[in-house]
C-alpha cells in the first residue's frame, strides 16, 4: 500500500464512519473496513473503478464529487478523505467548504508543486514540470488548480479552519509541518497530508 494511505489510516480512529471522495479502486476504504471496523462509503466517478469496489464488497456510489456531495447531510461522516484530487476540481475552495460540511473532520492530500524537483524543472527547462505524481502534459492534465503545500497551509489558516495535523511526505519520510518549518517542507515534500476541521 502507498505510504500516503498508511499515513491516512493512522489519522483515522476505529469504529467511525468514513467517506472517501474519489476512492479509486477502493484500496483505502477496504483496509479501513476490514481492519478498523469502519463504516465506509466511497464516491467514485470511473465506472471501471466502481466495478472494482463492488467486487470488493464496498458500498460505493457512482458519482461526481462536484455535484453529488450535496446529497449527504451535514456532519454525516466522522471523516471525509480527499486524496490527491483537490487540484482537479473547478472550484477547490467550494469543494473544501463542502467537504467540511459533510465531514466532522477532513483529510486532504496535495501533490506539492513547491517541491524542489518541480522548481528546478521549471527553472532549467522552462517547461511545465512532469513527475511521478504529476505525469501529465500541460494540455492533457486534469490538474487545473495546482498549488504548493505552503499555499494550502496558508489558505486553511486564512479561512480560519482548524488544522489538526499537517504532514509532509518526502519519499518514505513523514514529518510534521509547522509555521517555522513550512518553507523547508515546501521545498522537499512531494505530498502534503492535512487533517482539518471547520
Amino acid at each position: 500500500m502507498k505510504i500516503e494511505f498508511k499515513v491516512i489510516i493512522d489519522l483515522i480512529d476505529k469504529n467511525t464512519k468514513v467517506l472517501d471522495v474519489g476512492c479509486g479502486d477502493g484500496t483505502l476504504i477496504e483496509f479501513l473496513k476490514k481492519n478498523k471496523n469502519i463504516n465506509t462509503r466511497g464516491l467514485e466517478i470511473s465506472k471501471e473503478n466502481v466495478q472494482k469496489c463492488i467486487a470488493k464488497g464496498l458500498t460505493i456510489i457512482e458519482g461526481n464529487a462536484e455535484t453529488d456531495l450535496m446529497q449527504f447531510p451535514d456532519n454525516s461522516f466522522d471523516y471525509v478523505v480527499l486524496s490527491q484530487t483537490l487540484q482537479a476540481f473547478l472550484h477547490p475552495e467550494l469543494m473544501i467548504i463542502e467537504l467540511l460540511r459533510v465531514g466532522k473532520k477532513v483529510i486532504i492530500t496535495i501533490p506539492n508543486f513547491g517541491n524542489w524537483k518541480l522548481r528546478l524543472h521549471l527553472l532549467t527547462k522552462g517547461t511545465m514540470p512532469i513527475t511521478k505524481n504529476l505525469p501529465y502534459q500541460w494540455y492533457d492534465t486534469p490538474n487545473i488548480h495546482m498549488c504548493t503545500i505552503k499555499d494550502f497551509y496558508h489558505f486553511i489558516k486564512a479561512k480560519n479552519f482548524k488544522i489538526f495535523k499537517s504532514l509532509a511526505l518526502n519519499n518514505r519520510d513523514v514529518s510534521l509541518i509547522n509555521d517555522s518549518n513550512i518553507e523547508i517542507k515546501n521545498f522537499f515534500a512531494e505530498l502534503g497530508i492535512f487533517l482539518i476541521e471547520k
Binding site: Q51, G57, Q71
Partner: protein, 371 residues
C-alpha cells in the same frame, strides 16, 4: 393457455386493498428455484415487471419459452440458483395464475373483468409477503426487481423494513412521471378502442381485444428501447423488399418487428390485466405516501441497498434512480449505486449486459458472505 403446471397457494388472510375493498381466499401463483438452506437465510424474492411472470428462468411451462430473466438467474449466474433459494410470484392483477381480472367473482360467479378491484404496487407487495409465512422464512436475503419489479422492491422495504438483508431496485423510479403515465394511458386507450374489449367483458363472448392489446404492446415496446439501438438494428432497412411499396404495408423492418412483437404478446397476456397493472404503476408514488419525502419511506430500515440504472434508459432514467440514492443517503442508509453503460435502453436489465450481470453477482456474493 396451459395452466396445468402452475403452483398456487390460497391466501386465507384477508387483504385490505388501497382502494378500500378487501380480498379473501385468493390465489397466488409462484415458482421457486434452488433450495432453501437449513438456516433459511438464503432466500431471494424476485418481483417481476409489467409483463413478466413467476417463471424467471428455465423453460416457462406455459409458453415453452425461456424465462424472462434467464440471463441473470440460474446455476453460477448472477442470482445463483446453486447458492440461493429464489421465489417469484405472479403479481395480483396478473394473468399467470394469481388473483386477477380473469378470475371469477365469488359474489356473482362471473369473470371479474373490470369489476376486479383496482390494485396498487403496495397491494401486490402485501399479497406476496404471505410467501414468507408459507416458506417459514423470517428474513429474506434479498428482494430484487427491475422496472415495476424495482418499485415493488422499494415498497417492500418501506412496508417491511427488517424483512430483508439487501434490496436491489433496478431501472426503476419511486414515483411514476407524467411521461410514464402518458405512455400507459396510450396503451390503455388502445385496448379500450378495440370493440372486442367490450368494457372488459370478452371472456364470456369468446373474443379478445387482440388488436388493441397489440398496439398497446407496440407503443410500450418502443419505450423499452433506445433511439440508438433502434437505429442500429433497423435504421431505414426495408422488410423483404427492394423498394418502397407506396402502401401502408410494413415497408420498414421496424414496422414489421413491432407488429410481430404485438402479435406474440397477445398470445400470452390478458388485456384486462394490462389495464390493471399499468394503473398500479401509474398510482405508484412512494414519496407521495410520505408527505413528499422519500427518505421517510425508509426511515426504519437497516436493509442494504444496491441501485442500478442504465445510461440509455429514458423510461426510468438514471436521475430517477439517483433520486432514490439521494433519499437513502439523506438518512445515512447503506446504499450503493452504479450506472451501467448500455445502449439497449430500459430493456437492458433483461438482456445479456455483462457489466450489469457482473455488478449484480458481485454485490450479492459479497453481501451473502458477510452473513
Amino acid at each position: 393457455m396451459n395452466t396445468f403446471n402452475i403452483k398456487t397457494i390460497i391466501i386465507r388472510k384477508p387483504l385490505k386493498l388501497d382502494c378500500g375493498k378487501t380480498i379473501n381466499n385468493y390465489p397466488i401463483a409462484y415458482e421457486t428455484y434452488g433450495s432453501l438452506n437449513d438456516k433459511k437465510d438464503n432466500a431471494i424474492l424476485i418481483f417481476h415487471a409489467l409483463t413478466g411472470d413467476q417463471y424467471v428462468t428455465g423453460i416457462n411451462p406455459v409458453t415453452n419459452k425461456d424465462g424472462w430473466w434467464s440471463h441473470a438467474v440460474g446455476p453460477e449466474k448472477s442470482i445463483d440458483t446453486n447458492k440461493y433459494f429464489i421465489i417469484c410470484a405472479n403479481i395480483i392483477g396478473g394473468c399467470m395464475g394469481s388473483y386477477g381480472p380473469g378470475h371469477q367473482d365469488p359474489d356473482t360467479q362471473k369473470i371479474f373483468g373490470i369489476n376486479f378491484p383496482i390494485i396498487t404496487i403496495n397491494d401486490m407487495v402485501n399479497a406476496q409477503y404471505n410467501l414468507l409465512d408459507h416458506f417459514k422464512i423470517k428474513k429474506l436475503f434479498s428482494v430484487i426487481g427491475g422496472s415495476m419489479g424495482g418499485m415493488q422492491v422499494l415498497q417492500f422495504v418501506s412496508n417491511f423494513p427488517d424483512k430483508t438483508k439487501t434490496a436491489v431496485p433496478i431501472a426503476c423510479s419511486a414515483s411514476h412521471s407524467a411521461q410514464n403515465i402518458a405512455f400507459n394511458e396510450l396503451g390503455r386507450q388502445a385496448i379500450a378502442a378495440d370493440n372486442n374489449w367490450n368494457n372488459g367483458e370478452y371472456f364470456s363472448k369468446n373474443i379478445s381485444p387482440d388488436k388493441g392489446l397489440a398496439v398497446a404492446r407496440m407503443a410500450a415496446h418502443i419505450t423499452y428501447l433506445s433511439k440508438k439501438s433502434l437505429q442500429e438494428k433497423f435504421g431505414r432497412k426495408l422488410q423483404k423488399r427492394e423498394q418502397l411499396n407506396f402502401s401502408f404495408d410494413a415497408d420498414f423492418q421496424i414496422e414489421s418487428y413491432l407488429r410481430y412483437q404485438g402479435s406474440i404478446f397477445v398470445d400470452r397476456f390478458d388485456a384486462n390485466s394490462y389495464l390493471y397493472i399499468t394503473r398500479a404503476m401509474d398510482y405508484f408514488d412512494l414519496p407521495g405516501q410520505f408527505n413528499g419525502n422519500l427518505s421517510n419511506a425508509f426511515k426504519e430500515t437497516k436493509t442494504k441497498f444496491f441501485i442500478i440504472s442504465f445510461t440509455s434508459d429514458w423510461l426510468y432514467p438514471t436521475q430517477e434512480n439517483k433520486d432514490i440514492v439521494i433519499a437513502l443517503n439523506a438518512i445515512g442508509a447503506d446504499v450503493g449505486f452504479v450506472e451501467i453503460e448500455s445502449d439497449k435502453g430500459h430493456d437492458s436489465f433483461l438482456l445479456d449486459v455483462p457489466d450489469f450481470l457482473k455488478a449484480l453477482k458481485n454485490f450479492l456474493e459479497k453481501s451473502y458472505s458477510d452473513n
